[in-house]
Symmetry: C2
Subunit: 202 residues, 2 copies
């Protein structure tokens, strides 16, 4: 079936967002990342930076603490915990944008949420630790923690969130149609691979 929607899951620092943006530009289709976060935020009543921070992270103590202590948003809505409420809003938003037509969606477990649509191509972007460490320092600057610690912490949080909501193991090749190591293949070439597959799909 013709693939018109592309989900990009990615390790932090791998350049997955850049790959997604390049694919969207080359195909001339919408790109959802921060835009999607803003839409989710508007629908949920959460602050955009709260959604961005917690939308892919583990549904643990920190989210509940945040909800109870900082936002004033109650921890339970419609019988759901804060994290589960956020998840349900994310699912709904991602299914809505997929219904609108061709697009690229980065992160937010969109691979799982859209797993039953045959017009979707699921991509995973990863890279070696050294490449990612170098990249996050260039993009986001230094911090108190070492780049490796920051990456391990992000990887862990995304992994726990993914496992919790999908029952799948984060980073397993079987979850995706194509996985690409940007440290070896490069960001531009990764985008080219996906664009060629989309253009040749029938």
């Amino acid at each position: 079936m013709k693939k018109t929607i592309i989900t990009i899951s990615r390790q932090f620092g791998s350049g997955g967002r850049s790959v997604g943006r390049a694919i969207a530009e080359k195909l001339g289709i919408p790109f959802y990342d921060k835009e999607l976060v803003e839409q989710i935020a508007l629908e949920s009543g959460f602050a955009p930076n709260f959604v961005e921070e917690h939308g892919e992270h583990s549904p643990g103590k920190s989210i509940l603490s945040y909800a109870f202590n900082s936002t004033g948003v109650p921890g339970v809505m419609n019988g759901l915990s804060t994290a589960d409420f956020l998840w349900s809003i994310q699912c709904s938003a991602i299914m809505q944008v997929a219904e609108k037509g061709p697009c690229v969606i980065v992160g937010r477990n969109a691979d799982y949420i859209l797993k039953d649509r045959e017009d979707v191509l699921h991509i995973f972007i990863h890279a070696d630790m050294d490449y990612r460490a170098d990249r996050i320092v260039r993009l986001y600057g230094e911090s108190e923690k070492s780049p490796t610690s920051r990456l391990q912490e992000k990887d862990k949080r995304r992994s726990v969130n993914y496992q919790h909501y999908t029952g799948r193991t984060w980073g397993t090749a079987e979850n995706y149609d194509i996985c690409i190591n940007t440290a070896v293949i490069g960001i531009e070439e990764a985008a080219n691979i996906v664009v060629d597959v989309v253009n040749r799909s029938k």
Copy 2:
């Protein structure tokens, strides 16, 4: 760096061997699979079908039983167990063929054995269970066991062997440069992706 050697790791029934053969034909370079097994067998003194059967399987009871009871080959050679001796011969054979120049090597944990060569592109081919079950029945016929059981058993044995000799988890995207789901992408298109990347690498 220009990629001239391609390793193909694959789930049983995914068509990884066909992808590898198509890549080798398109690039006009040697293809090592059964040929490699024969070379290993010649060097080790094992029967070719023994090497083919056990070269990617767990180093457990069955191999030792086979060695002690059926082949007449002693279980310990040069201080190594039968399985470890076979592994050392495989490593040596794979490093030798890589030294010869551009080629495609299927299976035998070549991804790990050649992990330090920068001129190597590591590919993992996988596919959904239904696709693989249908494919092995078409290719190899029915057997007493269900196709799903046969696949699960093969997956398990390859996984245990890979974990034992590489310390890595089988099927994790991070172990490879590109992973492709042939059930979605197709065998021919999977080969095209790899050929394009090789041809564009510098």
